[in-house]
């Protein structure tokens, strides 16, 4: 904890401000570490793009990390968190592959085709994971072609550490028994591929399926959003609480609506509008977001709460945490209304 953070109180923060509730954040990390201790969780840094948050995850015992971009990999290594980094994504960028190959600790990169394997080999990458398609129409080799790709990698002198297969299409299945069944079916594909590929790692999962891998054969879960959460994941009834919001200031009040300074340039909007609560905790209906504004109903409804006035603070809760984090330079950590830390969002970009 940094005792010299300026400003000292959340009421002093310039807005829009990305704010993390430090106590909630700590609880989320503890819940996850109890379920998936140490290497059973490979936290995904794409959810926060922040080495300070990654360091907190490492202090809980998770020393292996998942990254989505070369810059995340390189930034994590520069921050001393490069013990075992996985680029869980394909790239054929020779410059960036060489930069990752040149790091002190060997990086593991995902490959799903001859082309991505060739690029990794040419750049001097030494370790790969075979990325297997388990149903999400995105990257990943077909399960029955995974073994051939692993053989090709080994014949090129690479270490094949195992398989990964992200069941992203199943994160938001709201019926949990249906979700568990479908996750098991997806992971059966991954196990089939793993039988052909070999290696120790079977990596999959996310926040929405974090507790459905007890019998799937997966030995590391790639969850990331659990640490901070968003309204999208919040609907699933998971044991993680909302730990991040964008603090705003009311700048204009009309007859039926008010306007605060948290616009769509401060929010990931691909999952739709955010939620909004006044500083007293009473919610308000969001009408719409513009570049630098959020228009919301002044009516607190049955929850009570009066009409806002200019200068009031609001908390805007993002619908999607990952892109929201990527839009801010810094996150402010608040505990008991005191600003205890300033965490740069230092892994942005590519």
């Amino acid at each position: 904890m940094n005792e010299h953070v300026d400003p000292a109180h959340s009421s002093d923060l310039p807005t829009p401000a990305l704010v993390i509730d430090g106590d909630v954040f700590d609880r989320n990390l503890a819940v996850m570490a109890a379920t998936h201790p140490g290497p059973a969780l490979r936290p995904h840094v794409k959810a926060h793009k922040c080495t300070s948050i990654a360091a907190a995850q490492a202090s809980m015992g998770h020393l292996r990390f998942t990254c989505a971009t070369p810059r995340e990999v390189i930034g994590m290594a520069a921050a001393g968190l490069g013990h075992d980094l996985l680029l869980a994504n394909e790239t054929v960028d020779a410059v960036r592959l060489r930069a990752m190959a040149g790091l002190d600790n060997p990086v593991t990169v995902a490959v799903d085709s001859d082309s991505t394997l060739d690029a990794a080999v040419a750049a001097g990458i030494e370790r790969v994971l075979i990325d297997v398609n388990v149903g999400l129409p995105r990257c990943g080799v077909a399960p029955d072609a995974a073994g051939r790709l692993a053989d090709l990698a080994r014949s090129a002198g690479l270490e094949v550490r195992g398989v990964m297969g992200y069941e992203g299409h199943l994160m938001m299945v709201t019926d949990r028994s249906e979700q568990a069944e479908r996750v098991e079916a997806a992971m059966a594909l991954l196990r089939r591929a793993h039988a052909d590929v070999g290696g120790h790692i079977v990596s999959a999962g996310g926040t929405g399926t974090f507790d459905l891998h007890e019998r799937t054969g997966v030995n590391e879960v790639q969850a990331g959003s659990y640490a901070l959460m968003d309204t999208h994941y919040g609907r699933l009834g998971l044991p993680f609480e909302q730990a991040v919001f964008v603090l705003g200031t009311v700048i204009s009040v009309g007859d039926r609506y008010a306007v605060a300074d948290v616009g769509l340039k401060a929010l990931g909007m691909d999952h739709g509008d955010p939620d909004l609560v006044m500083d007293d905790g009473s919610p308000r209906s969001v009408w719409f977001c513009s570049d630098e504004h959020i228009t919301f109903s002044i009516d607190g409804g049955s929850t009570g709460g009066g009409a806002p006035v200019v200068g009031d603070r609001v908390r805007v809760v993002p619908a999607h945490v990952d892109p929201t984090m990527a839009m801010h330079e810094v996150a402010w950590v608040v505990r008991d209304d005191r600003v205890t830390d300033r965490w740069p969002i230092d892994l942005r970009g590519w």
Copy 2:
């Protein structure tokens, strides 16, 4: 033109890369300057957040600019573009208001309430514009209360330069005669307020209504998107061409779809999915965007074009240009496939 840009060709750019077609950009600026020469256009820098683009607009004769955030104002002044800056937005942030008040050239800020006026006065701001609500449920004082606010500002010793009123709710009306009628009705409210407020400036408009102010009394148009455009504005049949896209690389190819490295962290998503064309110009259907991926159909349909292979380049055209620009550190200017300039997106944040 910078003769020493590295990389030299667009094929060398690391992806995702924000790319501006320099020739199209020049044409867009010329079309607008022909319609609204010099001070008749007050370009809105929120659309690009880039002082290099603002400098190009200034070179076309537009020396007065519109900003949405204090950082845009301060950054424009630092870049030598601070001749006449308007913060077309409300703020009660004392620190940022004082920073703007301390600039060499007086800044004009929008006010729409006693509270925002008081904050401006307390910070030493010398010039204001009365922000009038003309129908968009966002900032702006009611038209019949504008005169009182102007009197209050003058009694506090401020110069009241006139009025502004953004008809943002009318930008996307696709029937142009209906749009013209509704713009005229909105501007009638602004004229009524102006009659009570006084001052020389009547500021309004955007790219979607840029040519509908001949007889509205508006003497400066605040358009910004016209310079770069997006698919949303592209549907209106305006005389501006698409000048910006996000260049991506195909990283994975499946049976029916391919995946490129341009995800929702590289795109403003509030207006929905982007469009995608292969490097040969043939379009593909976008399936969905994830954080760092875009999944699209490999089928070129009647336009021809074969299936992509890993390493192919794609052009992803944003649905909303403003937040897209804010997600990138730099834009690359390309002319005849040569990279001629590297323009930092240097006005990001708040």
